[in-house]
């Protein structure tokens, strides 16, 4: 059974703290993604990575950074957490396929509250 595992289901952090959200996939996928989900706004792409040490900004990268030192692990970093970063964070992975279907697999999500 394929798996994308996020390190925490719920997290509470204080304003100004440095926060690490970890994501691990066991499918040897090239592509990994971080999204945040807020009511009424759907899923918004923060960053994605298409290979080890490679990353690109999504729609809303401000206030975030990412790290991908190993193929299976993609970390989202909040350098200095703020209350407007309170959200559900979702990690996904996906292979780089050809014409065949390449579905994305999601983790269970991390609900982060910044107080």
């Amino acid at each position: 059974d394929v798996k994308v595992t996020q390190s925490s289901r719920y997290l509470v952090k204080r304003t100004g703290e440095k926060v690490f959200l970890e994501c691990v996939q066991d499918m040897d996928h090239e592509n990994m993604f971080w999204y945040r989900q807020d009511p009424g706004l759907g899923l918004r792409l923060i960053y994605f990575s298409y290979d080890v040490k490679m990353k690109e900004k999504g729609d809303i990268p401000e206030g975030y950074s990412v790290s991908r030192e190993k193929k299976e692990r993609f970390s989202l970093i909040l350098e200095s957490a703020s209350t407007n970063q309170t959200s559900m964070y979702l990690c996904a992975s996906r292979s780089t396929g050809g014409r065949s279907s390449t579905e994305a697999f999601f983790g269970q999500g991390t609900r982060l509250t910044v107080v």
Binding site: G42, L43, L45, E56, E103, G109
Partner: protein
């Protein structure tokens, strides 16, 4: 990247067929159309993908007209457990950008 437009919400009674339409006027030649389903407090999961005409699997059907500027996800005889948000995505299978929109919130009523 082709943008998509879907209705924000829909209601349906149990046992009815539900059709959710997605507009993607700027779809490119190499783009596929993919639908995901998301239950509360879970990550989205893949439902179906197609390129043209009709695709059917055990969960849903996907209808794509010849011009490919729209697509319709069809859920046969919905049940309460089909209450979820449904997302339409357009993009290539080799692309590493993967954008969701706001989706369609489907509520199935007893």
């Amino acid at each position: 990247l082709a943008k998509t437009t879907q209705p924000i919400s829909m209601d349906s009674y149990e046992g009815q067929e539900v059709n959710i339409t997605c507009s993607h006027n700027n779809i490119a030649t190499n783009d596929y159309i993919t639908w995901y389903q998301q239950f509360p407090s879970q990550g989205p999961r893949f439902i179906i993908q197609g390129y043209k005409t009709k695709v059917t699997n055990e969960v849903a059907s996907l209808f794509i007209p010849a011009d490919r500027k729209s697509s319709t996800l069809s859920l046969p005889r919905v049940s309460l457990s089909d209450t979820a948000v449904y997302y339409c995505l357009v993009g290539t299978n080799t692309g590493n950008q993967f954008y969701f929109g706001t989706g369609t919130s489907l509520t199935v009523i007893p």
